[in-house]
């Protein structure tokens, strides 16, 4: 066991994925202006698994996740150094259009954010965007069913998406995200604004979703990671060089991370000694 893991030199032991990898994220550095937000993290996202990201506040979990579909490109000072391989294409390649990337790599946000449209239109939004030719209604219904919200809304598809409760809104957003059949679903603390019952429903949903999709999940809640994630990456904060730079400390099967972590820092974190 080493305590070297909170100094600037530490680089995590490489995680060897056991199945096929859908997003191979090799992050060397992520900068916002001159601020180095994340360094040296290799986090492969495996196919049909839930990959969890845990770590203290400010460790760059969300930054890492938002880099995976180039959402961070919307922030002007953002700079990415590294590569993210998606079907042998680097999504940060010169010719790649971030708009296209986001159609294959969907995202569910921390706060439920349905559009101010009807429930039906919310889910159909992505289909219409892509010029979907086919049975739109069938796709909408299927997405709502997969997101486990069909029974709640089947009688009021014309009502406003904003009229639903927080948990329902979040499941609506998940339905909206999966309606276009993305490959990967990025979920940025999707339960942090939800009550315990809604949280449980969304968690159960995530486990079901991995049948069809690959999920990357940022969570602040360690129990959630143990319940949902197959593989867990623990990110720490490195303050040795002045700023607060996030980096990968350890990545392994969730059970291993929580029961037999190899790094002292991971052990302290999963025991709840700091957060």
């Amino acid at each position: 066991m080493t305590s070297l893991s909170d100094t600037g030199e530490f680089i995590a032991k490489k995680y060897e994925p056991k199945g096929p990898v859908v997003l191979d994220c090799q992050i060397n550095n992520i900068y916002y202006g001159n601020f180095r937000a994340v360094r040296d993290s290799h986090v492969p996202i495996e196919k049909n698994k839930v990959t969890g990201f845990i770590g203290p506040s400010g460790c760059g979990k969300s930054t890492v996740l938002r880099s995976m579909n180039r959402m961070n490109d919307l922030i002007e000072s953002f700079r990415f150094d590294g590569s993210i391989q998606y079907h042998s294409n680097d999504i940060y390649g010169k010719k790649v259009d971030p708009v296209v990337v986001r159609r294959y790599i969907g995202m569910v946000f921390q706060l439920p954010n349905p559009f101010s449209m009807s429930i039906y239109d919310n889910v159909a939004f992505g289909l219409r965007l892509n010029g979907f030719k086919g049975d739109e209604e069938e796709m909408v219904v299927q997405a709502l069913k997969r997101a486990a919200i069909w029974d709640d809304v089947k009688d009021k598809l014309k009502n406003s998406g904003l009229s639903l409760s927080g948990g329902q809104q979040q499941r609506l957003c998940i339905a909206r995200a999966i309606a276009t059949e993305p490959d990967v679903l990025l979920m940025d603390e999707p339960c942090s604004a939800l009550d315990p019952i809604a949280t449980r429903q969304v968690e159960e949903l995530m486990v079901e979703l991995k049948e069809h999709y690959s999920v990357a999940l940022v969570t602040h809640n360690m129990q959630q990671a143990t319940r949902v994630a197959d593989v867990t990456a623990f990110l720490g904060v490195d303050i040795s060089q002045g700023g607060r730079t996030g980096y990968l400390v350890e990545m392994d099967d969730t059970q291993k991370i929580f029961e037999d972590p190899q790094q002292l820092l991971t052990q302290q974190y999963v025991r709840g000694e700091f957060s």
Binding site: M71, V99, S118
Partner: protein
């Protein structure tokens, strides 16, 4: 003999929870509440007295004749202000056609495309200055630019003058409405693979639409009631308009002209026209409140 001290349970006095009207705070509270009510009623006296006066003075002259006939000359009886109603609608229409597209596009730039640049800060400041722009100067400006160059007073010139006044109102209201669209909704759209154009067309504009419409309608209501900018640009006419490039009547100028005349018939018509104008403006204001309600509320 042993001392037996009998310990009585301590007497607890509960505070009274009833209302004490003579408590100093209660007195202050009721005095201030009364004052606020009184002042609110006082503030609405002018509005209601104006409407009451317009109805009592002008209501009797409102009939089909007044709404459709052209103005009477001198000692004539009867007549109306149909041409002025048409003129007002036409000029406000021209002003809307100019100011609404430009205003909304300017608002898009201010709110979404480039919200923090120097150019934007300056434009926003100038738009705010323009909202307080004396309306007569808009008239003088358009007089110099259009009336002198074309050589005639016209509905065009009147419409452009009104557009100058509407533009900043539309721009600022639309900008505010677009700013109200939450960032997380835009994030959601970007996250689904929208281009910036799609985010604007499919999320920002539809979501901000009620607010944008409210601003537009209030600007229209304001323009309908303007008189100063029309004095130098559209002037007035006693006949129905035949083309856009000739002097054109409007309700506000008709009121101005007729109210100063020494003939009872014209003065009565001025009252009736005032009532029509107020009803028109009121209608637009109510419309603005109705469309301002979002269809998809939380």
């Amino acid at each position: 003999m042993s001392e037996i001290t009998q310990q009585l349970p301590p007497v607890v006095e509960f505070p009274s929870l009833e209302k004490d009207s003579f408590d100093i705070r209660a007195i202050k509270n009721s005095t201030l509440t009364l004052m606020v009510w009184g002042i609110a009623i006082m503030a609405s006296i002018p509005l209601f007295s104006v409407i009451f006066m317009l109805i009592s003075e002008g209501g009797s002259r409102i009939d089909i004749e007044a709404l459709t006939e052209i103005p009477p000359a001198g000692f004539e009886t009867g007549g109306g202000f149909g041409n002025a109603i048409i003129g007002t609608f036409v000029m406000v229409g021209i002003a809307s056609l100019i100011s609404i597209p430009f205003g909304i596009m300017a608002a898009l730039h201010l709110a979404i495309l480039d919200p923090n640049s120097k150019l934007t800060t300056i434009s926003r400041f100038l738009a705010k200055v323009l909202t307080g722009f004396p309306s007569i100067l808009a008239g003088v400006f358009v007089y110099a630019v259009i009336v002198i160059t074309t050589g005639t007073y016209s509905a065009w010139a009147g419409g452009v003058a009104l557009a100058v006044l509407m533009l900043p109102t539309v721009t600022l209201a639309a900008e505010e409405a677009m700013r109200q669209v939450p960032q997380r909704m835009k994030d959601a759209a970007y996250g689904m693979g929208c281009t910036r154009t799609q985010v604007i067309m499919q999320v920002v504009l539809p979501t901000g639409l009620p607010g944008i419409l409210t601003g537009v309608i209030l600007a229209v209501a304001g323009a309908a009631g303007e008189s100063a900018p029309l004095l130098f640009t559209a002037l007035f006419s006693n006949y129905y308009m035949a083309e856009l490039a000739e002097p054109t009547a409007s309700l506000s100028i008709l009121i101005y002209n007729f109210s100063g005349m020494p003939f009872d018939n014209q003065i009565e018509l001025a009252w009736a026209a005032s009532l029509v104008l107020v009803v028109l403006v009121l209608f637009f204001n109510i419309l603005a409140r109705v469309v301002g309600r979002s269809k998809f509320k939380e």
